[in-house]
């Protein structure tokens, strides 16, 4: 009796405290995005972040939680959850029915996945289109993928009774579910929105002055996100009540730290090699890339593997970022290279670097019907890698299948972008009746010494 109580205490305590850190995530996104966009649109982006929190919560409460984790009479199908909408008839007692804390924890995750897009399409998307997208994302798009990978019924889940290829795809803290989904949605949004007015010159080369407005905010946002990641990754163990889960929680904190540090340093050095400038933006982006890339595997890889994954992530980020500009895709905060590029990279790396004993620690020892597979570099036979690829591709297909039509229709109806006059004068003045910095027009302009 006493031991089960403590087990549940562990569950509840983790789940309550952890999303606190996740809320910090929202603060991080808000600062990061506000720091990246031009001043005239800061109010708009801040608005979208707050709205994500609010509208997304209601959508998650009414539908999302049910599609992701709902069940009816203890059953659900491999594709989608089927009950417990609006927290209806969730059991609230006993070790297995932590309905409220679970709702709270996963709410914070879904808000994170939804918010990724807001930065990518900043400065030009219309508010209505965005708000509808936000509902759509947190009520259907994100929950279904979460159901596939994170529930005992999901067809891709390693927790299933008969997992795919005898292994199931490992996505410890949301490399596919949160980052790939969010990143792919960003790519679709960016493509259908088109670039901001004046972003690319007549010859297709990118114009200056469209990146970075306030590095204080970007650094603050980066730190808050990094902090929030200690809720995101270690919190994904969801319990700390045994030796092995305790070690797991702590190990994820270690790999997360090393991933962030290495990613930041590598990105900064790569950019230094290219431009001979120590660039604080590259450093911050690199930190976030490292964090994203270790997310799917943080529970099952070694610290040295986190170093390798983060270095690759920094390279991937910079390459994809350049590619996006070549293709004239205007992604204001580099959400696509970061979340889609590094999220996918990290997911694949799990197939190479996952260590047998860690996998068994996290997902349980192999049983008669349940196999366990580990990384190719540790003598695994490639089935885990195959599962990772399948998970990645099916998540991409699902997101495209839902969001491409949505944005296509919105574009046909001509409601996806704000009118060009509004875009030029800035969304804040035209739409929100506020300027984020009200005194700017009357203050003397900052002198930029030694510069033209």
């Amino acid at each position: 009796f006493a031991a089960p109580i403590h087990t549940s205490v562990g569950h509840v305590a983790t789940r309550i405290c952890v999303p606190n850190a996740m809320t910090k995530h929202q603060a991080g996104f808000a600062c990061l995005c506000a720091g990246h966009v031009r001043v005239k649109n800061a109010g708009n982006i801040l608005m979208k972040n707050v709205v994500d929190c609010s509208v997304g919560t209601l959508a998650w409460y009414l539908l999302g939680n049910g599609f992701a984790f709902g069940q009816s009479n203890g059953r659900a199908n491999p594709f989608i959850g089927t009950g417990n909408f609006a927290l209806n008839s969730v059991s609230f007692t006993g070790v297995d029915g932590e309905g409220y804390p679970q709702f709270f924890f996963h709410w914070a995750f879904s808000a994170a996945a939804t918010t990724i897009v807001s930065g990518a399409v900043a400065e030009r998307i219309s508010f209505g289109t965005y708000m509808l997208y936000s509902c759509f994302m947190s009520s259907l798009v994100y929950p279904v993928v979460a159901h596939w990978l994170w529930t005992q019924w999901g067809w891709l889940s390693p927790l299933a009774a008969a997992p795919l290829f005898g292994s199931g795809a490992i996505d410890f803290a949301g490399g596919v579910v949160v980052h790939t989904v969010g990143g792919a949605a960003s790519l679709i949004g960016v493509y259908f929105c088109g670039p901001r007015v004046g972003r690319f010159g007549i010859d297709g080369s990118p114009c200056r002055g469209y990146r970075e407005n306030n590095s204080n905010l970007i650094v603050l946002g980066t730190f808050l996100l990094w902090f929030g990641w200690y809720g995101f990754n270690p919190g994904s163990a969801l319990a700390v009540s045994t030796y092995s889960t305790a070690a797991l929680v702590a190990r994820t904190a270690v790999t997360t730290t090393i991933g962030a540090g290495t990613g930041g340093l590598s990105a900064m050095l790569i950019v230094y090699a290219l431009t001979k400038k120590y660039d604080v933006m590259a450093l911050c982006n690199g930190v976030l890339c490292g964090l994203v890339a270790v997310t799917p595997g943080c529970g099952v890889i070694d610290p040295w593997a986190a170093v390798i994954v983060a270095v690759l992530a920094a390279g991937t980020f910079i390459a994809v970022d350049h590619l996006m500009l070549k293709l004239r895709l205007d992604d204001v905060v580099s959400a696509v290279p970061m979340h889609l590029g590094c999220g996918a990279l990290g997911t694949l790396c799990v197939g190479f670097f996952a260590r047998q004993q860690y996998v068994e620690e996290v997902y349980g020892a192999p049983g008669p019907a349940v196999g366990r597979r580990w990384g190719v570099f540790f003598g695994g036979d490639g089935r885990l890698l195959a599962c990772q690829v399948v998970a990645l591709l099916s998540a991409l297909c699902w997101v495209s299948a839902l969001l491409v039509p949505y944005f296509w229709v919105a574009r046909r109806l001509n409601v996806v972008r704000v009118p060009v006059e509004q875009e030029i004068s800035g969304l804040d003045a035209s739409k929100y009746g506020v300027l984020t910095t009200n005194e700017l027009p009357t203050k003397p302009r900052t002198k930029r010494a030694g510069y033209v």
Binding site: A30, C53, T437, N438
Partner: protein
């Protein structure tokens, strides 16, 4: 490390068991395995260990919840700074930081003693023991056992929150000495006494009072809609009525002139930090997360988890309602409305977060947002100038939060969180006891707060110490009182405006 193996049995018991098992080794092993339940000399016992572990977990829970409540100061600071004009930024930032420091000292000297110093001898009105934490270590405290340091810390974070709320209402024109006076008054006297009434086991309004609760029920204010928010908000209201509006806030016809804040980014940062901190404020207010019996542990962790959910839902509902209401009123998607809306939602759910159903949380937040908008409109009609809308938000919506709990407190949740078990009037069989207590609570807490803060501000006004001079107000408090400006964007060679040290 143990030198001898602990054993469950006394010598006589061991002898009897040896005879039973016909084997001394088996008997000894049997007694060793039983030793987990306790030893003959009482030196080891799993139950004792478990109780200590519980206390450790509770300390951890309360310390970190307190830290989360503290981060709300960062939220208040950023919110206030962003919502006023840049010439007064340093003034309000100084107040927010100083609130935390001054309230720490006041809470140490007498705040805790007035609020909770009542072991075995307090009265229903005020506590009178452990001033300056004296004998904290050796004596017991209200929760029993040795002094719970973490509880002092958690309650201090609450006191600091109450002390910092009025700063927004009187921003941009208040005299710094007057500010100093009210922050000491609140954290050393007004707030602790209200805490004693509503939260201490002997308080006359308290739902934890099991000997003689008011109307057999007592007032349910789980995390302080009345205790914290009404006290702070109404102090702010008295302040901004008595100090008068900012220069130029109303034109010669009495029409309000807009005075927008200087940074929406800071407002949003502040809002989200407050949101973050509220997850310590509401779920942490169970004070414990585990207990020594399974049933009470379950009550605690379910209550705490539910508080996080209802908080989220109420804030979200209020933000959406405020967005739509703002759209109707002004025709634009108003960022500041949404931020205020979310905060109103949190204030409105604070009293009932432990005892409301999720749907009731949506109602509390949504209606709260409408009440807030109506109050703001009314304040402008009455020419009350509250730059941060602190009094509509904390004062009025705090009262609303207490009131809605009287209607919608759900029977099974009240049974989990409170002993007296009187629930909301909306549910069949609820009766009016709880609702009556809530109304009494609102009236009494309101009257107490308005009396003391009104008295203080009135005396200050008589001596002409409440407001700065019009010249200083025109120039901004930062330059006139704080020796400089908050922002110095010069790239030159240190031709700053601050006097050298």
């Amino acid at each position: 490390m143990a030198t001898s193996v602990p054993t469950f049995c006394s010598d006589g018991e061991l002898a009897a068991l040896t005879a039973l098992f016909k084997n001394a080794t088996t008997a000894a092993s049997f007694c060793e395995r039983l030793a987990v339940a306790g030893t003959a000399d009482g030196s080891v016992s799993l139950a004792t260990n478990l109780a200590a572990v519980n206390e450790g977990v509770n300390t951890f829970f309360l310390t970190f919840a307190g830290a989360l409540v503290f981060i709300m100061h960062a939220g208040f600071a950023m919110l206030c700074a962003g919502a006023i004009r840049s010439k007064n930024t340093m003034n309000i930032l100084l107040q927010t930081v100083l609130d935390a420091a001054v309230s720490g000292i006041c809470w140490y000297i007498c705040g805790w003693a007035f609020a909770y110093g009542d072991v075995g001898r307090g009265n229903p009105f005020i506590g009178d023991w452990t001033f300056a934490l004296v004998d904290w270590y050796s004596n017991g405290n209200p929760s029993g056992g040795k002094g719970r340091w973490s509880e002092w810390f958690f309650q201090w974070a609450f006191a600091a929150t109450a002390a910092t709320i009025p700063a927004g209402a009187v921003a941009e024109r208040f005299n710094f000495n007057a500010y100093f006076a009210y922050t000491i008054l609140i954290s050393a006297w007004v707030y602790p006494v209200v805490v004693h009434w509503v939260w201490a086991p002997r308080g006359w309004l308290s739902a934890f009072n099991t000997t003689a609760p008011l109307a057999g029920s007592g007032m349910i204010d789980f995390a302080g809609s009345a205790v914290v928010h009404m006290v702070g908000g109404l102090t702010g209201l008295m302040g901004c009525i008595l100090v008068g509006p900012r220069l130029g806030r109303f034109d010669s016809n009495g029409q309000p002139v807009d005075m927008p804040g200087h940074s929406a980014t800071l407002v949003v940062l502040g809002t989200v930090l407050l949101w973050f901190g509220w997850y310590g404020f509401n779920p942490g207010s169970t004070l414990n997360i585990v207990a020594t019996t399974a049933a009470s542990s379950e009550n605690l962790y379910l209550t705490s988890g539910r508080a996080a959910v209802t908080t989220t839902l109420s804030g979200s509902a209020a933000a959406v309602v405020a967005l739509l209401s703002g759209l109707v009123r002004t025709g634009s998607w108003d960022l500041i409305s949404v931020c205020n809306g979310a905060l109103v939602g949190f204030v409105s759910i604070t009293a009932g977060c432990a005892v409301l159903e999720p749907w009731a949380a949506l109602i509390a937040g949504g209606v709260g947002a409408l009440i807030f908008d109506a109050t703001c409109w009314l304040w402008l009609k009455l020419r009350i100038d509250d730059p941060l809308s602190a009094s509509p938000m904390h004062g009025v919506c705090g009262a609303w939060g207490v009131l809605v709990t009287g209607f919608l407190a759900a029977p099974h949740y009240v049974a989990q969180a409170y002993l007296n078990g009187k629930y909301g009037a909306f549910y069949p069989g609820g009766g009016g006891n709880l609702l009556g207590c809530q109304v009494v609570g609102i009236l009494v807490v309101g009257a107490w707060t308005c009396f003391w803060s009104g008295l203080l501000f009135f005396v200050l006004k008589i001596f002409n110490k409440i407001r700065i001079s019009p010249e200083e107000e025109q120039a901004g408090l930062d330059v006139s009182k704080h020796g400089g400006s908050a922002y110095n964007h010069d790239h030159g060679l240190g031709k700053g405006v601050k006097p050298g040290i």
